[in-house]
Symmetry: C2
Subunit: 253 residues, 2 copies
């Protein structure tokens, strides 16, 4: 039974898609069967693994609103053992359309049920909001993985995020655990990064992964080539950090 | 009659709040009367100008859903001529609550009507989504100002954003103009930044401000001190860039 991990934080630009893509790719490199599910209408995770959205015959939108089986929209990537359920722009209309539907929070969980056996890990990339798409992902997930940028503004939304995780656990998904917090875009040139990490460790203790993802230009260049960092520049600091994070995720079991 | 500018982009972390706060502060420094309106439940613009959310007696939530006059929730900042209509965490529930309300898209526009005379500029900071809060801001605005990060992923959501602006212009606010696009977080150490700027200028032509905001650590440190960049470090590259941008905004009239 594959483990479902939702990568979530309503603060924008903290490294959700970058973490989802690179964790998924590193797990596949460690011989795990991985499905990356793009739940963000922007579709960054989809293009981050090199999938051309113009050539798709189906997407997560069709699964959530059109009743298509998830297995029908899944496509392979150039990375062995890594498949993706892609997002396209029509997903932008999903939140409003889902409001009126039956069991609207469970549509992704129900869709994933049929493919969980076929994968070791299912990684869900969420949009920067706490609307019905993110609630669907948290309802489907075993664990939430929260990237937090080493910046002051990133600290402000945390209580809102924890509220939402607790509400989902209470009303929709009693098994949901906060798997861990990963610090991203660490910049050694400013004390700010250290201060933010200290503050986060104070709140979350050992839920914070030891691995800290540094700010690394190669990570921001890789999506333009449609490649995860381990293919774009396997010796970069970014690649090393995501390999390290993956070891920790595997060790947590 | 004050000009209303909505700072908008559903891509997360592109510098919306940083641009809203620093443009507002620089306009106030140029002797304009400015109201900064925080329409993002995260409340980053509110804390970016040093307002303590715990001490507030009212917020934008009370205006949009509780029928309180906007003038009642506006608070002063330490910057002369700069006031703020603050956001608190309860705004997070607003999108769902607004769905069922009368004239739900016009609530911010109607609320701003009574205070427009008293200000030269009203700057609206939007959340990273295209839901009812952003639609309220676009419906209230004369112009949309779009920060675009000099990164690959930032290009992907642009057509979705333009769709939304066009829909709002067609159905809700015929006077809405796309004021301009400002490139942010330019990093001279990578060709990626230049490539993204070239791509954006190809699409938007002279709507793209000449001023490019560089990646500058002082800009990310300033919010932790509750100060705009011109107070935190007035000689930094970040302060220079936002003063330059302000000159261009004023020149466009
Ligand atoms: N460690 C890093 N070093 C440098 N750049 C990074 C790093 N992680 C992510 N980036 C870049 O920063 C930007 C924001 O990251 P990303 O898009 O992954 O965040 P996100 O949380 O998914 O954003 P959104 O909230 O819009 O979904 C992207 O352009 C990405 O390429
Ligand atoms: N030019 C810059 N140089 C360095 N850091 C910056 C710059 N502009 C913004 N930042 C920092 O980058 C982060 C993202 O910026 P900001 O929060 O303003 O973006 P946003 O678009 O408002 O995000 P959200 O989508 O969550 O509302 C913040 O921590 C901010 O301090
Ligand atoms: Mg993302
Ligand atoms: Mg913001």
């Amino acid at each position: 039974m594959g483990k479902v991990i939702a990568v979530v934080n309503q603060k924008g630009g903290v490294g959700k898609s970058t973490t989802a893509v690179n964790l998924a790719a590193c797990l596949a490199a460690r011989r795990k069967k991985v499905l990356l599910v793009d739940v963000d209408p922007q579709g960054n995770a989809t293009s981050g693994v090199g999938v051309d959205k113009a050539k798709l015959s189906g997407s997560v939108y069709d699964v959530l609103l059109g009743e298509r089986p998830l297995a029908e929209v899944v496509v392979a990537t150039e990375i062995p053992r890594l498949e993706v359920a892609p997002a396209t722009i029509d997903l932008a209309g999903a939140e409003i359309e889902l409001v009126a539907m039956m069991s609207r929070e469970f549509r992704l969980r129900n869709a994933l049920a049929e493919v969980r056996e076929a994968h070791d890990y299912l990684i869900l990339d969420c949009p920067p909001s706490l609307g019905l798409l993110t609630v669907n992902a948290l309802t489907a997930a075993d664990e939430a993985l929260v990237p937090i940028q080493c910046e002051y503004y990133a600290l402000e939304g945390l209580s809102q995020l924890l509220n939402t995780i607790n509400l989902v656990r209470k009303h929709l998904n009693p098994g949901l655990r906060l798997d861990g917090v990963v610090m991203t875009m660490f910049d050694a040139r400013t004390n700010l990064s250290e201060q933010v990490i200290a503050e986060v460790r104070k709140h979350f203790g050992d839920k914070v992964f030891k691995t800290v993802i540094p700010r690394n230009i190669r990570l921001s260049e890789a999506p333009g080539h449609g490649k995860p960092i381990i293919l774009y520049d396997k010796n970069s600091k970014g690649a090393q950090a995501y390999r390290e994070l993956t070891r920790e995720v595997l060790a947590r079991g």
